[in-house]
């Protein structure tokens, strides 16, 4: 008897995700992003953010847990999951010796996008990202911002339903960062979910519908900025201070703060 899979409102669902290297990098992570949602993943260095995203993108196999992308079991059928997904790491994955247009043609070929459609989308994306004038220049002379835009165009050419980004604004100047942010915000509503890690809390605060805070490979808090502020106030007991009327930075620091060691607490007492 065929198994019935109910339709899911989630673009991304993760349950009990585990990945160990020398120590657990991701430790029983549960996370869900809704369709049309912009989800930001925050966490201190080494919290397991990039490892999580690499597992979602199919670049790394988890030791345990499940990943569903747009209802597709990404571990059972990684090729089908990759077809509806785009992955952009912090370092742009482009070829120096290809032009942006050739790069987009290559990516379109990998995702089997129909050539006429791909050519039209390429023109549209290059124009939209301000790369039209350099469309036939080799990428080797491009700045970091231009390279990131080429990578972004490559990620969008097959119209993914889930876009996964790892620190996409690292090294970008203010103008390029604003442009990339507006593209991502627009795409989140238009094509599906955007899941992004960032260390720039202001970006998460302004762009994300919901924010997940990850520490030691676990999701320790999740919600809108307001919800996180309230949660930080409750857990850290700093309502009205750092948690209540404080910024997301205060809330974040309160949430990820290490519990004081007993010896240190005794000494302080």
């Amino acid at each position: 008897m065929p198994q019935f899979t109910p339709p899911t409102p989630f673009a991304l669902e993760i349950h009990g995700l585990v990945k160990r290297f020398e120590r657990p990098a991701v430790d029983g992570l549960d996370l869900a992003a809704r369709a049309g949602e912009f989800y930001a993943l925050l966490g201190p260095n080494g919290a397991g953010k990039t490892t999580t995203l690499r597992m979602i993108a199919g670049l790394m196999r988890p030791d345990a847990g499940s990943i569903h992308v747009a209802g597709i079991d990404a571990l059972a059928d990684p090729v089908a999951a990759k077809r509806v997904m785009a992955w952009i790491p912090d370092e742009p994955m482009i070829y120096d010796k290809l032009t942006p247009r050739e790069y987009l043609a290559f990516v379109a070929g990998l995702w089997s996008v129909e050539p006429t459609l791909a050519a039209a989308r390429a023109d549209e994306l290059l124009d939209w990202l301000g790369l039209a004038a350099n469309a036939d220049d080799r990428c080797e002379s491009f700045s970091k911002g231009m390279r990131q835009k080429v990578a972004l165009a490559g990620a969008l050419i097959h119209e993914p339903r889930v876009i996964i980004l790892d620190e996409p604004l690292t090294g970008l100047d203010a103008g390029s960062a604003r442009q990339v942010k507006s593209v991502l915000r627009e795409r989140a509503g238009a094509v599906g979910a955007v899941i992004m890690t960032t260390h720039i809390l202001e970006v998460a605060e302004r762009m994300a519908d919901r924010i997940g805070v990850i520490a030691h490979g676990k999701l320790i808090a999740e919600g809108t900025v307001e919800e996180l502020r309230r949660l930080a106030g409750d857990t850290a007991g700093i309502s009205g201070g750092r948690g209540g009327g404080a910024s997301l930075e205060d809330a974040f620091l309160a949430l990820v703060a290490e519990p004081a060691a007993p010896a240190a607490e005794a000494e302080a007492a």
């Binding site: 993108a57 199919g58 670049l59 790394m60 196999r61 990684p78 090729v79 089908a80 990759k82 077809r83 997904m85 785009a86 992955w87 790491p89 994955m93 482009i94 070829y95 120096d96 010796k97 290809l98 032009t99 247009r101 050739e102 043609a105 290559f106 990516v107 379109a108 070929g109 990998l110 995702w111 089997s112 129909e114 050539p115 006429t116 791909a118 050519a119 390429a122 036939d136 220049d137 080799r138 080797e140 002379s141 490559g154």
Partner: protein, 511 residues
């Protein structure tokens, strides 16, 4: 305490960098390997001395007659051209690799001092690189012939100095003539051509004159003896210096110092200027028609196409490929001569292993570039394409290039001798597939720009690739004469492959 900013201070800094660079190259960045590398190096030096002891006997007490002077001069010239090639490559890298250039140019020190030291270091390194091969022979000549042979060491350092001076002049001349955009590629091609030209030129001359690929026969032939100047001519000074003539040695050393000094004085003050001009000097414009880019293609075809475009546009690879192609010139001449004279059986037997060996080596380099030298590994891994299919497409890209290069030669051979063509074709396919398989088993992520260092990432892979190519070349050579006898070398080549497969690392990455 050395005063900072002086030439000596810079020299210490440069020598430390050069030493660490060499150490990292020999140990593949793993300090734990230092001991085994040292033991291996010492064993190599001892073995080379043993080999040299038995080889130098007839030369140790040789008189400075004309045949001897010609033989030594030819050896010196060959080594010197290789040094020029090596120095040109170093100079090109010095101009185009940014590394610490910004720091030096932004600091309040006289930049020409560091560049003078840098050029001198190139000369020293080029000379030092010749020592592991030359020193055992010189030492054994000293043991068996006398102290006068020590002059050869002086000649090596003079050769390093003059080779670097010429390399500096050539690189700067290219820079001025064709501009920084094209110099990088041209310098690499010129360096490769210089390195190969002498060997190949002699082989071609030998083939045309004598129908063999022996170089020693041609340099000591009656025609060469008659054509070359008298024994007292300045042309023989380097050879005389090697044989222990003190006056000639001083002259050769003085020429080296003067030429290198002149090159430094001319270029060091403007070195920074050249290096800055080289920044971002990529030839970035492409004149391909827009509509042709987007074609109906499967992911496999997209991957193959991408690999071929990248291979075509890789300047370093162009020069490497050119080197491989240059070594195909002698067999091509041999083939052409066999056609012209109507002979061929023996010559074809010689051709078969050369072509098979060249195919194996070329396939190894290409396979590294396509498999390990993937500049966007995450993009390919994140695409909806099965990893097996990605690798298959990359292997097809390699074999496609091999087919393109070798098919015309095999086709020409088929007209003259179908049996030899069959053996050669089979050998080329097997050697190429074997070299590609070794690169697959030992694949490790690297930037394409690190091609020069691919050998140090896995020494097992490097040796396995070389021995596999030699094994299949030997198999093809024997098979061309007697197919049944080829079973022996084929088993050895398969053993090399099996051993490489056995020790290859097991990857848990999805790609």
């Amino acid at each position: 305490m050395i005063e900072s900013g002086t030439v000596v201070w810079f020299a210490r800094h440069e020598s430390r960098l050069a030493w660490r660079d060499w150490l990292a190259m020999m140990t593949a960045g793993r300090r734990a390997r230092l001991r085994s590398v040292t033991i291996g190096f010492v064993a190599f030096v001892i073995a080379m001395h043993a080999v040299a002891y038995f080889m130098v006997g007839r030369y140790a007490a040789a008189a400075a007659d004309k045949p001897m002077l010609i033989a030594i001069t030819a050896t010196v010239l060959l080594s010197w051209l290789l040094m020029v090639s090596q120095a040109m490559e170093s100079m090109t890298r010095a101009f185009y690799a940014r590394s610490d250039l910004d720091l030096i140019l932004a600091s309040p020190v006289a930049a020409h001092k560091v560049f003078a030291v840098r050029i001198s270091t190139v000369a020293l390194v080029v000379a030092m690189m010749a020592l592991p091969l030359a020193a055992p022979f010189i030492d054994m000549l000293v043991v068996r012939g006398g102290w006068h042979w020590l002059g050869a060491y002086g000649v090596i350092f003079a050769m390093g100095a003059t080779a670097t001076a010429l390399a500096v002049a050539l690189t700067v001349a290219l820079f001025r003539a064709i501009g920084p955009k094209r110099t990088r590629l041209m310098a690499q091609i010129v360096a490769a051509a210089i390195g190969a030209a002498f060997v190949i030129g002699l082989q071609v001359a030998a083939i045309l004159s004598y129908g063999t690929m022996s170089r020693t026969d041609v340099v000591q032939s009656a025609a060469v003896l008659a054509f070359t100047p008298d024994a007292g001519n300045v042309l023989w000074w380097p050879a005389r210096a090697v044989l222990g003539d003190g006056g000639a040695l001083i002259g050769v050393l003085a020429a080296g110092v003067v030429l290198l000094g002149a090159a430094i004085a001319a270029v060091a003050p403007r070195f920074g200027e050249y290096a800055v001009a080289a920044t971002g000097a990529g030839d970035s414009r492409v004149s391909e028609a827009r509509p042709a880019v987007f074609r109906p293609m499967t992911p496999r075809r997209a991957l193959r196409r991408k690999e071929w475009i990248l291979l075509r546009r890789d300047p370093w690879l162009v020069s490497q490929t050119l080197m491989q192609m240059l070594y195909l010139i002698p067999p091509a001449v041999l083939l052409w001569r066999s056609f012209a004279t109507g002979g061929g059986g023996g010559a074809f037997n010689l051709l078969v292993p050369v072509l098979v060996m060249a195919a194996g080596q070329l396939a190894g380099g290409l396979a590294w570039l396509t498999i390990s030298g993937e500049d966007a590994p995450d993009l390919v891994a994140a695409a909806p394409v099965r990893p097996r299919l990605v690798l298959r497409a990359k292997v097809e890209a390699v074999l496609g290039v091999i087919a393109l290069v070798f098919a015309p030669l095999v086709a020409a051979l088929a007209v003259a001798s179908p049996r030899h063509a069959l053996v050669t074709g089979g050998g080329i396919v097997i050697a190429s597939v074997s070299a590609t398989a070794i690169q697959l088993w030992f694949r490790s992520q690297a930037k394409r720009s690190q091609f020069r260092r691919r050998q140090v990432s896995s020494r097992v892979a490097t040796f396995a690739e070389a021995f596999s190519s030699i094994g299949w070349a030997g198999t093809a050579a024997v098979a061309a004469a007697s197919p049944w006898l080829a079973i022996g070398p084929a088993v050895i080549a398969l053993g090399v492959l099996a051993g490489a497969r056995y020790v290859s690392p097991h990857k848990d990455a999805i790609t």
